[in-house]
């Protein structure tokens, strides 16, 4: 440890040293080593200037840090360090106010906002504070000014759908770190477009999306080397995961040059096709084209100059003068210009192949005939000639869409290789299959496999449910009223950054199998409401699984009870109600007045169900799922929750979503993502997004609390889903494990049933241990080895229990 800061602190204030020492350890434990480092650095830096301030900062940071989302903590410290250097007197204010701001801006804008706040600080501490809290009018104006243009995150779903409507494939829009390009599966776009400050900013994004989707729509990625004249010696064999485009680029002496020339012509072709197909985009392209092309460079190297001249010609910009050999090198390509809209990608590739040598010759001449790739790359600035950064070396300001098959992820690369293998295998059988057809065939096979897997999971689930007895069971006296106002027993835990409001505390008893009795008032359950503002996870799931959600919703809609209830006394119906008919005749004879309500109608029975989901948020859920390998148990569980919640919301059944974790008997944390009274809106979705793995799981207490919440619901049947990864375990005390924990869980479930709640446990424990049968007793449960099937399985259980 660096003792420098400690000395400064000691000299300034001994209590500051103690605070620093203690909190540094707490931050390391509770949050992480890098944060602890940054904390130490910051306090030390302040201590060199002002001991008293150092003490205040040392004490106040930990709580505030806990409010900063993990991804923004580094930025939080970075900004504080800058402030400490220049405006130490405002540091205390920033420590407090910054946590609420870090999520609202990107790095640069946050700094700009802070600068404006600090400028106010010179005049009035008060004004600066309300500015930084975003309470003042000045702050509102500043924030609006900082947020100009269009943020991709606001429109990415819209643009994804838009791209799909154009090309009819499941492309996805993703942030492209300032650039726009496509790899054939995704359309990457700049995170923010702020070039015009009006509607044209969006138009620019839209044009870029149309271009990115246009590569797919008009077949750029369908390049087929078999349709091109092979170079002497034939095409080199494809590398694993390599796209046909990459493989083709590789056949050129200078890959980057070939790529640039092809890109220009192919862009012009796709643009021509787009303009022809979509008159509206042609209009937008005229409005934003100049900005999209960026400021044009004036290269001097002959080949680069020729390529630039080609670009300007194709884009109808001011011409770039070339010498005679330069003109000659691009002339044959330019002659294609008017016909581009009628060509396919193979024809463009062929033209590039035919006329590339002319442009390459310009370059070779410039380096005295030496091959450019051996040593010439630092002497000439080729377009994209720098192999390490082929994109940025050429026109860094350019926003135009580009083709970049190398950006595809591992899955897509694998898919591409498989498609190629499929095609080659077909060729061996004497069947002719284009690469595009092979891709489609491969996707089809994948879909079939998934469907098969789902079907098997469903069948197993059905069989399991048939074996389970879901009714009856021992009764336990539930006379244990929740208590409130318990003093906080546990301290020393770092405040949970995912928690917005800590709510009431509740005390529950616990079953001790060793004494065969309850321990009264034993466990404190602390209810806490999760924070909002975690959109990424939910958005991603909602987008990816939209189709799935729709299907699930319809499945739930179909889960209507098939029974019927008779409604009597109607003026129209299936049958005549004889009793009433007789009565009506009698009344008619006696009084002259008779009832018309003589019919009976058989109406379908309605459902009356309330559901609570209780999610195990212990640290073991951070592990990867057994089957998939890549995704964490908790993420899959959350995803399943979101899917099912969307469906439940659509059919209007009341439901709650809760999570639990904690440490020790006086600190069972019960997280509320959605209470029964909350609507299922974006805020609730964000709170589900916040659910993350925490510490231990003391299942018994959490089940007791959840079942009480559920029991308060006015529904005919109440279902509690416990999603866990297996063993209840709380290392925060010396005995909550193995048999003790299992017996307590079993009793808690039995208590739940006594309260009129039907629990069902879904356990993701691939080892399938024997204790489950004992622990869950006669409560329904199932062990699944493939969490991805979770939503489907919840539907199955729901069907059995809810009706």
């Amino acid at each position: 440890m660096d003792l420098g800061p400690a000395l400064h602190l000691l000299r300034a204030d001994a209590s500051a040293l103690r605070a620093w020492y203690r909190y540094r350890a707490a931050i390391r434990e509770g949050i992480g080593e890098p944060e602890a480092e940054a904390y130490g650095r910051l306090v030390a830096a302040v201590a060199r200037k002002d001991g008293e301030l150092a003490r205040i900062v040392a004490v106040s940071i930990p709580d505030n840090l806990a409010r900063v989302p993990a991804s923004r903590r580094a930025l939080y410290f970075a900004v504080l360090e800058e402030v400490a250097a220049d405006h130490p007197d405002a540091l205390g204010l920033l420590v407090r106010t910054l946590p609420d701001r870090v999520d609202e801006f990107d790095d640069e804008r946050l700094r700009s906002f802070v600068r404006q706040g600090l400028a106010l600080h010179r005049d009035s501490h008060q004004r600066a504070e309300s500015f930084l809290r975003r309470e003042s009018d000045a702050a509102r104006v500043a924030v609006e000014a900082l947020h100009t243009g269009v943020a991709l995150s606001d429109v990415s779903r819209l643009l994804t759908l838009y791209a799909r409507s154009h090309c009819g494939e499941d492309v996805q829009v993703r942030p492209g770190k300032g650039r726009a390009f496509s790899d054939g599966h995704h359309v990457y776009l700049p995170e923010r477009v702020d070039k015009f400050g009006d509607a044209r900013d969006f138009a620019l994004l839209r044009v870029l999306t149309a271009m990115g989707a246009g590569y797919l729509e008009f077949g750029t990625f369908d390049l087929d080397l078999a349709a091109l004249p092979a170079p002497p010696g034939g095409w080199s064999s494809p590398r694993e995961g390599e796209s046909e485009l990459e493989r083709w680029f590789r056949s050129f002496g200078n890959k980057s040059l070939a790529r640039e020339v092809f890109q220009l012509l192919e862009d012009a072709r796709v643009e021509a096709r787009i303009a022809e197909e979509y008159p509206g985009i042609a209009r937008d392209l005229r409005a934003v084209g100049d900005v999209m092309r960026g400021k044009r460079p004036e290269p001097t190297a002959p080949a680069a100059r020729a390529v630039e001249a080609l670009a300007r010609e194709l884009w109808h910009l001011d011409r770039l003068r070339l010498d005679a050999p330069g003109e000659a090198s691009i002339a044959p390509l330019l002659s294609l210009r008017s016909a581009l809209g009628h060509l396919d990608v193979n024809a463009v590739a062929r033209a590039v192949q035919d006329h590339y040598p002319g442009i390459e010759a310009l370059m070779l001449k410039a380096v005295d005939g030496k091959p450019p790739r051996s040593q010439g790359s630092d002497r000439i600035r080729m377009p994209g000639g720098d192999e390490a950064q082929p994109e940025t070396a050429f026109q860094p300001q350019e926003l135009g869409a580009r083709i970049d098959p190398e950006a595809a992820g591992a899955d897509e690369r694998r898919a591409e290789s498989e498609a190629r293998r499929l095609r080659d295998a077909a060729a061996e059988r004497g069947e002719s299959l284009t690469l595009a057809e092979a891709r489609e065939r491969r996707r089809e096979a994948e879909r079939r496999e998934h469907a098969l897997h789902d079907a098997t999971a469903f069948a197993q689930m059905e069989a399991m449910l048939d074996r389970q007895e879901l009714t009856g069971g021992a009764l336990v006296d539930p006379s244990q009223a929740p208590d409130s106002g318990v003093p906080a027993l546990a301290k020393g835990l770092p405040q949970d950054p995912d928690v917005a409001v800590s709510g009431r505390n509740f005390i529950y008893r616990e079953w001790d199998a060793s004494i065969g009795d309850y321990k009264p008032r034993w466990v404190v359950v602390r209810e806490a409401r999760l924070r909002e503002g975690e959109r990424a996870f939910v958005d991603e799931v909602m987008e990816r699984e939209r189709h799935h959600i729709d299907r699930l919703r319809r499945t739930f809609e179909a889960l209507r009870p098939q029974g019927r209830v008779q409604v009597r006394g109607l003026t129209d119906g299936d049958e005549i109600d004889l009793d009433r008919a007789v009565q009506s005749v009698v009344e008619g004879k006696a009084t002259g007045q008779r009832s018309e309500r003589l019919y009976v109608r058989n109406l379908p029975e309605r459902r009356d169900v309330a559901v609570a989901f209780l999610l195990d948020m212990s640290s073991s859920t951070n592990e990867a799922t057994a089957a998939g390998g890549k995704r964490r148990v908790i993420d899959v569980e959350k995803e399943a929750l979101i899917l099912v919640a969307e469906a439940l919301h659509a059919i209007g059944d009341p439901f709650g979503i809760y999570g639990f974790s904690g440490y020790g008997r006086d600190h069972v944390a019960f997280y509320v993502a959605k209470d029964f009274r909350d609507g299922w809106d974006d805020r609730a979705r964000e709170r589900v997004g916040r659910m993350a793995f925490k510490m231990e799981n003391r299942d018994g207490a959490a089940i007791r609390h959840a079942s009480r919440k559920l029991a308060a619901q006015p529904a005919r049947s109440r279902i509690l889903f416990l999603l866990s990864d297996g063993k209840p375990l709380d290392c925060g005390c010396d005995h909550y494990y193995d048999r003790y924990a299992q017996e307590d869980t079993r009793m808690a479930l039995a208590e739940a049933r006594a309260l009129g709640v039907r629990p069902f446990c879904i356990t993701v424990d691939p080892t399938g241990p024997a204790y489950l049968k004992r622990m869950y007793g006669d409560v329904g449960y199932c062990v699944i080895d493939r969490v991805d099937a979770l939503p489907a399985q919840i539907v199955q259980v729901y069907r059995r229990l809810a009706l």
């Binding site: 838009y162 799909r164 409507s165 499945t555 179909a558 119906g573 299936d574 005549i576 379908p604």
Partner: protein, 270 residues
């Protein structure tokens, strides 16, 4: 006891409904009618199933009784029921009974929406017995040769669980409908709405692009019927974008992003 059967004239198709064949469906339907086979029409909403049945009824010169199925539809809604009129009890035929008595084509639209126990009443009519037992009248009606059962369903938005029972399904010969190919769809939209060829062309392209979103956000693509509606709005002088918003965007989705996407697709063409 009195029995009421609705008049035959209520169910005749007076003039030829416009229908443009996409495939061999007219021929198949005609032969199925000759062979007295029940027919199942599959296809997305608004692709012309109902129009096709009306057209065929006209062509075959048979009355057409249409029943829109829903989940509260009961067997007595189809067969008929007793009603009390003053001191009299009257039996009123339901649409199915009416169709059997008149030798009409009965068309059960969106048949999956009906509950499975309701559908069982059509079973004896759809095999070689061609009879309709009516318990409450204690009679069994035998269907005349002209009687024909036609049902439709939309496989797109029905879930795994909401399917026709195989025992019901296997009583029909099936015709599959889809949205017409662009050339035909242009012709249909132009003919139905009277819109000029140029704007019809653009409208049909908008439809194609929106259909690309089916299963990628939209539950079902835009139907030919909606294209016709939109074209009619255009003919009546509504500005293109607001016509499309009324006919497509607001009709197809409540999802804001999806709605804007459709607006942008419209802006690609208008």
């Amino acid at each position: 006891m009195k029995q009421l059967t609705p008049q035959l004239s209520d169910y005749t198709v007076p003039s030829e409904p416009f229908y443009r064949a996409i495939d061999d469906e007219v021929e198949l339907f005609t032969q199925a009618a000759n062979a007295r086979l029940p027919v199942l029409l599959k296809g997305p909403t608004g692709c012309g199933k109902t129009r096709f049945v009306a057209h065929m009824a006209w062509k075959l010169g048979r009355p057409l009784v249409t029943v829109a199925c829903h989940e509260d539809l009961s067997a007595s809604d189809l067969l008929g029921r007793y009603l009390l009129h003053g001191n009299e009890t009257v039996w009123v035929d339901g649409p199915l009974t009416t169709a059997v008595r008149h030798g009409a084509i009965v068309y059960l639209d969106e048949v999956v929406e009906a509950r499975k126990d309701t559908l069982v009443v059509i079973h004896p009519l759809t095999d070689d017995r061609r009879v309709l037992p009516i318990d409450r009248l204690a009679t069994v009606l035998t269907a005349p040769p002209e009687f024909m059962m036609v049902v439709s369903y939309n496989p797109g938005y029905q879930s795994v669980l909401k399917e026709l029972k195989p025992s019901t399904r296997q009583r029909f010969v099936s015709l599959e409908f889809r949205y017409p190919p662009p050339d035909l769809e242009r012709e249909i939209v132009a003919r139905e709405s009277g819109l000029d060829a140029e704007r019809t062309g653009r409208l049909v392209k908008v439809g194609e692009k929106i259909r690309n979103l089916t299963d990628r956000g939209l539950e079902e693509g835009v139907s030919t019927r909606l294209l016709v509606y939109c074209a009619k709005l255009l003919v009546h002088g509504v500005e293109a974008r607001s016509a499309c918003r009324a006919a497509f965007t607001r009709t197809l989705t409540d999802d804001r992003d999806l709605g804007r996407t459709i607006d942008e697709i419209v802006a690609d063409y208008f």
